[in-house]
Subunit: 362 residues, 2 copies
């Protein structure tokens, strides 16, 4: 049966109806007398007819589907890269005949792994895209044990080897710290994530590197760690600004834009002019960054390219078992200098040429 593929015509002949009738019934374009419908479904069953996708899928032993799940953003935040990342992935997938299947993210490890196992066992996906990858990520361990294709957006433990692509956040922090040092800043504070944060540590490395190269000693009192939200940025900046004049930072580097916005508000409440009395930078370049007063210096990740790349890598692995070299690709982000660190960049954000007046470092 599997060798001589059953066609719609075979089904039509057996059921004693026309080819078009079978086609329309399968595609739900018509309703027929119940007895006729039943006869056609019976013929489909008897002959083992499979519609197009299932047939292609069975022939290839593949589902032409890629699974993806991500942690939901908290209610008081918007995920600034989600839409672009998703769109870039399914445009890339469509170009190669694949679709993306979404499923809920579970924080509990057992449930999380069960969700991946279910999709594999049911043959519903050919591979996975992972994101929000942290240290000791259980998904990576599990998929490697099962030898099931995946590509991660994000690194994990430094000694683990697996297909991944990541933004070189350290490079971004290195560049913004160098930029501030070049403007004469020495006391540069950092609004960071907790020590367990893999992404946070990758980014911080660039700060330490730039400070070391400029031979500026690190003041641990200027590195504040919190949950990465606007109000942490606000409170941490109040704390920094309460330091004595000799200890107080002249610049604050935040590991994301939300913390930077909180920092701007805390400083402005104390009458400070951002960019002149205090330099502040963010990370992510959220759409609002350019519209803040003053516009916020930030670091932009090449999300569209990353989405395209993870999908192409994954499909290469699925179809050809082709493990990419290097297994983990690091792509540099782009520093966008605006008036929050450099008051010479004074462009009004409300003009069609706003982006031309931004200083893009690469």
């Amino acid at each position: 049966m599997a060798k001589n593929r059953v066609t719609l015509k075979d089904v039509a002949q057996r059921a004693g109806v026309s080819y078009q009738t079978v086609s329309k019934l399968i595609n739900r374009q018509i309703r027929l007398a119940e007895e006729t419908e039943q006869r056609i479904w019976q013929a489909i069953q008897d002959l083992g007819y499979t519609p197009h996708y299932n047939a292609r899928s069975l022939r290839a032993q593949r589902s032409f589907t890629i699974g993806y799940s991500w942690p939901p953003s908290p209610p008081d935040e918007t995920n600034p890269i989600l839409d672009q990342f998703l769109q870039s992935m399914f445009v890339a997938a469509e170009a190669r005949g694949y679709y993306l299947l979404m499923f809920p993210y579970h924080y509990e490890v057992e449930k999380q792994i069960a969700a991946y196992a279910d999709l594999i066992d049911a043959g519903r996906v050919d591979g996975f895209i992972l994101s929000s990858v942290e240290y000791d990520d259980p998904r990576i361990r599990y998929l490697q044990e099962r030898n099931f294709p995946f590509v991660a957006f994000g690194r994990s433990n430094p000694e683990w080897v697996f297909p991944c692509i990541d933004v070189d956040g350290g490079q971004g922090l290195y560049e913004v710290t160098q930029h501030l040092i070049a403007l004469g800043h020495h006391r540069i504070a950092v609004l960071a994530w907790p020590r367990e944060s893999r992404v946070g540590n990758n980014r911080l490395e660039g700060y330490f590197k730039a400070m070391a190269e400029a031979a500026i000693p690190i003041d641990e009192n200027l590195i504040l760690r919190g949950e990465g939200k606007l109000d942490f940025g606000y409170r941490a900046t109040q704390q920094l600004l309460s330091l004595s004049l000799t200890q107080r930072p002249t610049a604050i580097v935040a590991l994301n834009d939300y913390m930077a916005i909180g920092a701007m508000q805390a400083a402005q409440e104390q009458g400070m002019r951002i960019g002149e009395d205090l330099a502040i930078s963010g990370f992510d370049d959220i759409p609002l960054a350019r519209y803040l007063t003053p516009p916020l210096t930030s670091i932009r990740q090449p999300i569209w390219e990353i989405g395209q790349h993870v999908i192409q890598r994954l499909i290469d692995i699925i179809e050809n078992g082709q493990i990419p070299e290097p297994q983990c690709l690091l792509v540099p982000p782009t520093l966008i200098v605006r008036a929050s660190t450099d008051p010479k960049v004074k462009a009004s954000p409300f003009s069609r040429t706003a982006t031309q007046k931004e200083v893009i470092s690469r």
Copy 2:
């Protein structure tokens, strides 16, 4: 063949290997000698063995998959409801054994319809969720012609009847306009979308209704239409504030938060105190709204409930042909009053109790 379902054991017997070996090979947990692997795949082909999902799918003539596609947000905006809407949908879908399949959105009508047709013809989905529904939406026409299950988040032409759920944006505008009238405002401007915008027109109806009930004549010069972005809000507000004192509005109602933020910036540049000299409100309650200076009055949509609802409705249609009554359900949004319209609401946004100090109207 289809009646006596082929099992893994049948395959194992025919290939002369153990049940576990076949299972592991199918699940990609082992690699075997090439000859052995080939023998097993041959047995699978000969017997017409189908893995679990395909088998369930063939038996039920369903894919247990729901298709969804949405227009990407422009690079200078973040879609404030996307993450929550997606998460709520696939949590609801998982609870009933379904997954969501994503595919690219095409603006060209022919390509757009082809994407839907391909998924139907290939048997890959059992139904669709539509969003960003506009007047004369070609997707609705097409899916109705094919009698293929769908549920829309959003209304279309008033005379069209199809399964949908929508936020009653008119109710939101009605409430915020009443709120402003109660505070003594008469000259209330609106920052709106173009006349072709179905969502915009639904929302505006509430403004007209509240104004009519208060017997305040409509001043067409105070209704400005643009593309719904921050810089339109900024420019439109500059224009409104250049009117003579007797014509100038004392309140501005924006149809989304981005336009409201632009309006706040334009007014603040002219030294006006928002909430005291000029009241401004938005729509969407983006996460940043409560953190603005002053915090922005806005209108929140019950996105989680909508996501759950569209999926449950759709699966009811798919599984039971059950058309809901009423076919289109309207759910009210929630007015969140903050200091941008009412300076008595003075809560600092930077406290754990911030939300308690907001005045939630329902």
